[in-house]
């Protein structure tokens, strides 16, 4: 770990000032400290934002929730409103990491966690994300956990969050205090960038921009599910995960909000998949067609080839579960 200046922010504007001059925000630190120890990340200044007032979960005027960026994964998963109205989010959180880590990890930090690609973590290996231009060690290496969608010739990293996948399915928005002083709201989908030829750029955030909250829209009718497939029964990152909010009306799919983890460099949502489902009577053939659309451009790299058939199976199982017994 390289030496750094430590600054404990006392107010949002103080945090912004400290960050604007080359600071990196730290909250739970579960990923940042991990990466700093390996010198994969080496901020010159750490701006500790844990004393800022961003721990509240408040109801918005239109029936949604505003989740402060510092709300811990534990508190968010435990929130009675989330458990009742947005269970897919509780489920996703509870399937991630461990109770110890969830107690530390925050909402904002979870969104911004880095990939678990083993070549990104190992400084002896080439990695375009860690060291642009050095190459990608994973492409022809051990890539079991890496992405099959949204990749580029430069990077096949996956985004490891479970929480963000559920938020993506729920159509969450991110509230950002821009370094310049403005506050903006972005759809979560727009927060993330695909690797393209700049895999080192993962989000649209500029230095000093701070995520202050996540806003969930009002709950919608339908069944919710988060299904995570992994290599151990617990304490493992997703190989494939699906977050789904599905409703059937009059025997036809009336809602199919779907997001996927473990497949792509960001929580993956594909509106074409959802469009194909809407208005159709649920059937195995329909789910297969949805999977065809989802995976049309999927590309494996050897050790992760299995994710393509696995994603198909899991998607079909989730859609079956959520449409079964619904009025035909």
């Amino acid at each position: 770990m390289r030496p750094f200046d430590y600054h404990r922010a006392t107010a949002p504007d103080d945090a912004a000032r400290a960050a604007a001059s080359g600071g990196t925000f730290i909250a739970g630190g579960t990923n940042l400290v991990d990466l700093m120890k390996l010198e994969v990340m080496a901020p010159e200044r750490l701006v500790d934002i844990t004393r800022l007032d961003m721990r509240g979960i408040e109801e918005t005027g239109d029936g949604g929730l505003r989740i402060g960026a510092l709300v811990s994964n534990t508190d968010l998963a435990n929130d009675a409103r989330v458990r009742r109205d947005w269970p897919v989010l509780s489920r996703a959180l509870l399937s991630g990491a461990t109770q110890q880590l969830r107690n530390k990890a925050t909402t904002g930090g979870n969104l911004l966690q880095r990939t678990r690609c083993l070549y990104f973590y190992d400084r002896a290996m080439p990695c375009n994300k860690r060291e642009p231009g050095s190459g990608c060690g994973a492409m022809e290496g051990f890539n079991r956990i890496l992405a099959v969608l949204g990749t580029s010739d430069h990077c096949i990293a996956t985004h490891p969050s479970d929480m963000a996948v559920a938020m993506m399915a729920l159509g969450a928005e991110v509230e950002i205090a821009r370094a310049g002083g403005n506050t903006e709201r972005l759809p979560l989908d727009d927060l993330y960038l695909l690797p393209g030829d700049t895999p080192e750029r993962e989000t649209v955030l500029a230095p000093g921009d701070l995520i202050t909250a996540v806003i969930l829209p009002a709950p919608v009718a339908g069944r919710q599910s988060y299904r995570k497939v992994r290599d151990r029964a617990s304490y493992a990152f997703a190989l494939v995960s699906v977050a789904a909010v599905v409703a059937v009306e009059d025997g036809k799919v009336a809602r199919a909000d779907l997001a996927f983890g473990g497949l792509a460099p960001k929580p993956w949502r594909d509106k074409d998949v959802e469009a194909a489902l809407l208005g159709q009577p649920p059937s195995e053939a329909l789910f297969d067609k949805a999977a065809d659309i989802l995976l049309a451009k999927a590309q494996g790299h050897g050790a992760n080839d299995f994710k393509i058939p696995l994603a198909r199976r899991v998607l079909s199982a989730v859609l079956t579960e959520l449409t079964e017994g619904a009025a035909a």
Partner: protein, 729 residues
């Protein structure tokens, strides 16, 4: 005064059965438990020595070329840095178990990616870690090296093999034949305590606080590596945070710490980081095993073939002894067993819990399951039919063998008769299946010494350099001494893990309990003889219980007999003729119920049972725990564990605990263990055999066989991760 005992004849007197204290075998709590649960047991890297400096090893970034420290001076000048050590005495890799001399020492050439080639020493851990990252290692003049065992140069290990009868012919004539090839990947011991040493010099004398399993060998290895006399080296290891083979031999961090401590004139701590544990401690070799089984219509084996390919670094003699228990587990006149060693530039291969049987029996047991299926015979019955009368190769008798009883008793306890037909039982998305496998592991007695002192107040102290790596040594040595001397457990103190004490067998190869236990037994026998002499009675007429001697209808307390004297005896056991006269091994059977998800291919072990026979059980609680541990290693081996090598440079890609998946609590059901009553007179005068490794010697096979029963999918490439299962669903 040393009492020597050589195991030349079976110990049919079974003296422990006639003792009165009732300690041996009892499920007593570990005496060191209160220290462990309160965080006050002290492990290697937990001594706050004055002026302690911290060292961090730096690795070779490739597997070939001359090592150059590109910015050594700049790093040496960094804040807090005390020294940058690049010394030819640094170890290339750890010593193999019982090596007793230093392994290859070479910091000048890279042999595998991850090899420690330098050490940065600094005032604090934080300074050392950062400076180690800053040190740039360049490799000059490297050439491509083989890293894949399938294409590397092969050295046949003919002394390990056997060609008896005509296996080819047996296969041709067989009514039921199986000819299959399985693969098992490399594994890491991954003990929870990373390897660590604190070295401290007092003049020319070195004290090393280390995390090691076999101190008497480690002392010689360390002395040899440094070029000093072993008398000048003392190693302390009272608590060791797990070993599983990876702490058998002296490892790079110890030598680096010793050199650094000498150079800086300060005590130096060097602890491996978790990635370094994965990259520089021993791996279990991957194996490719072709199994051939030739059977008649009733499933009786006429032939067994096992042809194994394993690998290691150039210069290392260790070749994973895959064939070890195949030599004697099953009958069959025609036998061809062979072992090939490929030379590859991956990290060193060595002992990981139950070297040989862990992979060899596991794969044999999968092939037996395939034979049972082919022959239409129940898997338990197939094993029963093939239990040989005598060792099928040497013709020797078995010392003791409750293999059949383990199969029967285990099947009964588990409810094996309820086994479903292949791919027939389903609960929602989950396929349910049962599987079983046999367990077998060779048994060995090793030279060992211990001193027992009976103090004038009638309390006893046991002292030896033996280690307790979680195995229960503190418990069982106290129980043996208490039993022999008639003392309650709390009147016996056990002191371990110090090379100033009489040298023991060390913990490894499952031999620790019986070997060190026998040395304590022998010392206690000598003390008993002396007590009897004082009382003028025959030692065999003396009953010792609760600190009192009962003889000739009289009772005296030990204090009265001792009259202010202490009696100190050293027990020294040596293996003898019984190790050659008979075939000694431990046996058992595993039974497993799995649920395999029909959508995702995920496997959950829902129930697991093991029945084991390992001679006299010294402590039913700690022995059971050892069996649990082995079986859970088996769960990891079956389902999740694999060192993933990058085929381009041979480095361990998943060198952390997030991606090298050892089982977590949720992967493990409430396993049941049955320990069968047994006495093995040939094994030791305790009639005890080893049990530390038996739990893993086939366990993974039972799980993979259960996956087949559940789904009809045969996974022949371990571990049975979900991708391999769904490929067959």
């Amino acid at each position: 005064m040393t009492e020597q005992f050589k195991m030349d004849a079976p110990a049919t007197d079974r003296r422990l059965d006639g003792m009165a204290q009732g300690l041996v075998g009892a499920p007593l709590d570990r005496p060191e438990g209160p220290l462990k649960v309160s965080g006050t047991a002290t492990y290697a890297d937990e001594y706050r020595l004055e002026n302690l400096a911290h060292g961090m090893l730096v690795r070779a970034p490739g597997n070939s070329g001359r090592v150059r420290l590109a910015n050594r001076d700049a790093v040496a000048a960094m804040p807090g840095v005390l020294a940058v050590i690049h010394d030819p005495r640094l170890l290339r890799n750890p010593a193999q178990g019982t090596a007793n001399k230093a392994p290859v020492q070479d910091a000048n050439e890279a042999h595998y990616l991850g090899q420690p080639v330098a050490l940065v020493v600094a005032e604090s851990f934080e300074h050392a870690r950062h400076a180690a990252h800053a040190l740039k290692i360049e490799l000059e003049g490297g050439t491509p090296r083989p890293v894949d065992p399938e294409t590397a140069a092969i050295e046949p290990q003919s002394s390990k093999g056997l060609d008896q009868g005509d296996l080819d012919r047996a296969m041709t004539e067989a009514v039921h034949a199986v000819d299959v090839t399985y693969r098992t990947p490399s594994h890491s011991s991954a003990p929870m305590e990373p390897h660590a040493s604190i070295a401290q010099w007092d003049g020319e004398n070195l004290t090393l606080r280390g995390s090691y399993q076999m101190l008497k060998y480690n002392r010689n290895e360390l002395a040899d590596a440094l070029g000093i006399h072993p008398d000048r080296v003392r190693i302390l290891a009272p608590y060791v945070g797990g070993g599983f083979g990876s702490k058998l031999g002296l490892a790079p961090e110890a030598v680096a710490a010793a050199i650094a401590a000498k150079e800086t004139g300060r005590p130096v701590s060097v602890a491996l980081t978790r990635p370094q544990v994965f990259e520089t401690t021993m791996r279990r070799s991957e194996t490719r095993q072709r199994i051939r089984l030739a059977a008649d219509a009733e499933g009786r084996l006429a032939g067994i073939g096992q042809a194994a390919l394993v690998s290691n670094l150039p210069g290392e003699v260790f070749a994973e002894p895959v064939l070890q228990a195949t030599h004697f587990l099953y009958a069959g006149e025609n036998r061809r067993l062979s072992l090939d060693l490929a030379r590859v530039h991956r990290l060193c291969a060595g002992s990981v819990r139950a070297p040989g049987e862990a992979v060899g029996i596991t794969v044999l047991e999968c092939a037996m399951d395939e034979l049972a299926e082919a022959a239409g015979i129940d898997p338990v019955e197939l094993r029963r039919r093939n239990i040989p009368e005598k060792d099928p190769e040497s013709g020797k008798e078995f010392s003791s063998r409750r293999f059949r009883e383990a199969l029967d008793s285990g099947a009964e306890a588990f409810g094996w008769s309820d086994r479903p037909a292949t791919r027939s039982r389903r609960e929602g998305e989950w396929w349910i299946g049962y599987g079983m496998a046999s367990a077998a592991r060779v048994n060995v007695l090793m030279e060992s010494r211990a001193r027992v002192t009976l103090a004038p107040d009638g309390s006893a102290k046991v002292e030896t350099d033996m280690t307790d790596i979680g195995t229960g040594t503190y418990a069982i040595l106290g129980q043996i001494a208490g039993e022999m001397l008639g003392l309650p457990r709390d009147r016996v103190e056990v002191v371990l893990g110090d090379t100033d004490l009489p040298p023991a067998s060390g913990s490894g190869g499952s031999w620790g309990a019986a070997s060190s236990g026998t040395s304590v037994y022998v010392a206690c026998q000598a003390i008993r003889a002396q007590l009897a002499e004082r009382l003028g009675v025959a030692e065999t007429e003396l009953t010792l219980k609760d600190g009192q001697a009962v003889f000739d209808n009289r009772t005296e307390t030990l204090a009265e007999i001792l009259k202010g004297d202490e009696i100190a005896k050293e027990g020294h056991v040596l293996p003898g003729d019984t190790s050659k006269a008979v075939r000694q091994a431990t046996f058992g059977a595993y039974f497993v119920e799995v649920a395999v998800n029909g959508v995702t291919g995920e496997t959950r072990v829902r129930r697991m049972h093991g029945s084991f026979a390992a001679g006299r059980i010294l402590n039913a609680k700690t022995a059971r725990s050892q069996c649990l541990g082995g079986m859970i290693f088996g769960i990891g081996m079956a389902l999740t564990e694999e060192l993933a090598f990058d085929d381009r440079d041979g480095h361990v890609a998943n060198h952390n605990l997030a991606e090298y998946h050892i089982p977590v609590n949720a992967d493990v059901p409430q396993i049941t263990v049955e320990l069968l009553e047994e006495r093995d007179d040939w094994a030791s005068p305790l009639q005890a055999k080893g049990i530390g490794e038996l739990g893993i010697c086939g366990a993974a096979g039972a799980i993979v066989n259960a996956i087949h029963n559940a789904t009809g999918v045969r996974v022949r490439d371990f571990p049975a991760t979900l991708d391999k299962v769904i490929a067959g669903l």
